[in-house]
Each structure stands twice: as C-alpha cells, then as structure tokens.
Subunit: 159 residues, 3 copies
C-alpha cells in the first residue's frame, strides 16, 4: 500500500501530467534555443552590446565599431521576448489545467496545437514569412492558453 | 479507497491550491491582455517594427514610414515587461507557497493583494497616474511575493 | 491513515521537492533584486524613461533632461532580461524534473550548480568581469536546465 500511495502522489504517473511535462519541456527548450540563435547572429554579424564582449577584436576604435545593433539580431530578440510573453502563461496556466482533470485527448489537443503554433511562430518570425503567417500562429497559441484558463477558472473558482 | 486516493492526489481539490489556481489564471490573463493592447496601439498609431507588418500599407517609402516607435506603444511594452518581471516570481513562488501549507485566509490575502496591486499597476502605467501611484502598486505586489518566499524558505529550507 | 495520506500528498514533504522549492525561491528572489538595482541606478544616475517619473525634478525642460538612457541602467536591464530568459526555463523544467523521481543528491547537484551559476552571471554582468566570465556562467546554467529537460523527456515522453 505504501508503494502504491507513494506512486499515486507522483504526478508524473498521471497521463495528462506526463503530456503536460512533455510539451512544456519541448516548448521551453525551443525558447532556450533563441539564446543560441541570438549568439549565432551576434557573432556572425559582429554586432554586440557589451564592451567586454568585443575585447577580443582589439582595443579602442577597432573594437568599438562592433558595438552596434543588427536587424537580424534584433529580430531574433523580438522573437525571444514574444516567446517569453506567450510561453510563460502557457506553462503556468497549463500546469493548473493539467491538474484540473481534463480528458487526456482534450489536453493533448491543447498542448500539441500550442506547441505546433509556437514552432510555426518562430519560423514565421525568423524567415520571415509574409503576414498574416506570424500573426495567425501567435493567435492560435494565444487562444489555446485562453481556452485552458477558462477550464481552470471554471474548475477552481473560489473567490 | 482508490477513488479517495485519486481524489486526494488532485491538488485542485485543495482549497489553498484552488485559490492559487484562480488568482494565477487571472493575473496571467491580465498579462496576456497586454499583447492585445500593444497590437491595438501599433495598429491605431501605425507604428510597427517588422517590415513584413507594413506590407499592406503599400511598397517602398510609403510603407517604410510606419516602421517607427510610438510613445504609447513603448509605454504598453514597458508595462508588459514589468508584468513579466513581477508575475513570473509570483507564479513560481506562489505555487511553492500554496504547497507549503498556509492558512486559507492568509493565502487568500496574499493572492488577492497581489492581484489587485498588479491590476492597479497596469492602470497607473497606462493612464498614466502621477507617481507614486505606479511605484506604490509595484511595491505592494513585490512585498507580497517576498512574504510568500519567506514562508517557502522557512518551510522547505534544506541546503 | 487519513493524516498520512494528506501528508503524502503534500509535495513539500518530499525531499527533492523541498530542495527544488528552496533553490527556486532563492533564484527568483535574486531575479527580483534586479528591479531594485535598476531603480537604484535610475535614481542615482537620474536616468528615467517615463515623464511622470521626473515630475519631482521640476517642470518642462528642467525635468525633460532626465528622460535619457544610462549605460549602467541599460546593463542592469540586460542582466534582468537574461535572468528571465534563463530562470523561467529552470523554474518550469525544474518542477517537472523534481516530480520525475531523481536521486536527491543528483537533484541537489543540478539545483545548486544552476543557482551558483546565475549568481556568478549577475556579478559577471554588473561588475563587469572580462569575458568569458559571463559567457561561461551563462553556459553552465543553460547546460543544467538542458540536463534536467533530458531527464524529464526520458521519464514522461508520451506523444
């Protein structure tokens, strides 16, 4: 009995929670990738923001010219910030949603559509695709999070 | 017994956790609203940052003039970033706090004051209200999160 | 039995979860500190961004000159944003990792190295230390989060 009890308290044994864990990990790893893409563009475009980052290019004016903004770097940074603005609500509301007892199939649908939409959003931002590509992929992810928040508030409302 | 066990592992049946779920969903939805307010100001002020977003205004110079910053857009974006900086710690520390076994009334007090303070902060930022309106609403939310962190560290400390 | 059950559902009684709670609280408090450091530099450098924040310095041109960017303020803000980009994945993936049943010693190693690396990163950014000080501390925290995500996906994978 002890074992069973210990097991049943491990959220990770719950299928909906497993699905949440999987897609949250994927979507957070995708967000983390943006740091590497930013670093890649900073190095290849030679566009830095901190003086100490350009020290290896020499001293004085020869290094100073690399302290500049680059359109590609700024684009990746906007994509990264948009991820933060949208993935943070997904992770928070998604956790509450996973604990609110949804059907596994419904939960998977939410998690998968959100994950797909955010991956599309990144490609739409970085390529970039013509609008409304980026706008639509953003709106789909936004709507999924909204739908989960509705379920959470319906289940947990206690004011 | 099985049913009871399954039930007791559903955090959503715990009243403090229900309160956490409710206010976290509200405060994250409020943060998500900032995206819509930004979009509203970008469209009404015709102030965009991505060239592909101005394609519908024509080609060349006629579209290029809408690639500019607007004070109202920038103000909403600062409010949004401030939300991220303050709501992320609330969601993370609040979850640990909700699981640390606080009194329901004390927990509700924390969650309600934080939520109210952040809603006030948004109005103070967007209207804008004269200082110290925004500063005070920020400080109240900050202090609530700090108070919850203190309870978490007192309960869980294990180094 | 009832008591035992209630107790075993309190995640906070699980040692790995206690460790997660402790280090997550510390690292989120560290991130919150960046707001105070920003405020400190804004006030001492007299560099503000919102017109209503400079109202106490007088009216018109005499106050307007304090609406400017300052290198030290911008440096702290970059550190703060870097915290958001890295601590959000740690908090989200770390929670899932703590629930995936790792050894306490392995979990502690992950949490401690991440926390240490992010504290070092802040000092490296604010002092600033010559590179690769900041780069290395960033990479260590990043790798720890990646390692936890690998464990989560190995445990929970359900597509």
């Amino acid at each position: 009995r002890r074992g069973e009890m210990a097991k049943s308290t491990q959220l990770i044994d719950n299928e909906v929670f497993q699905a949440y864990a999987t897609y949250t990990a994927i979507v957070l790893l995708k967000m983390m990738l943006m740091s590497l893409v930013t670093a890649y563009f900073r190095i290849t475009r030679k566009a830095f923001v901190n003086p100490e980052d350009t020290a290896s290019f020499g001293k004085g004016e020869s290094a100073k010219k690399y302290l500049r903004t680059d359109p590609d770097v700024e684009r990746v940074r906007r994509g990264h910030l948009n991820d933060l603005e949208n993935i943070v609500p997904f992770v928070g509301i998604g956790l509450l949603y996973a604990l609110s007892g949804p059907e596994l199939s419904t939960a998977l649908l939410h998690f998968r559509i959100f994950t797909g939409a955010r991956i599309l959003h990144t490609f739409a931002y970085l390529i970039p695709l013509p609008q409304p590509g980026r706008g639509l992929s953003w709106a789909v992810g936004y709507s999924v999070t909204f739908s989960m928040a509705y379920k959470v508030l319906k289940t947990a409302w206690l004011l």
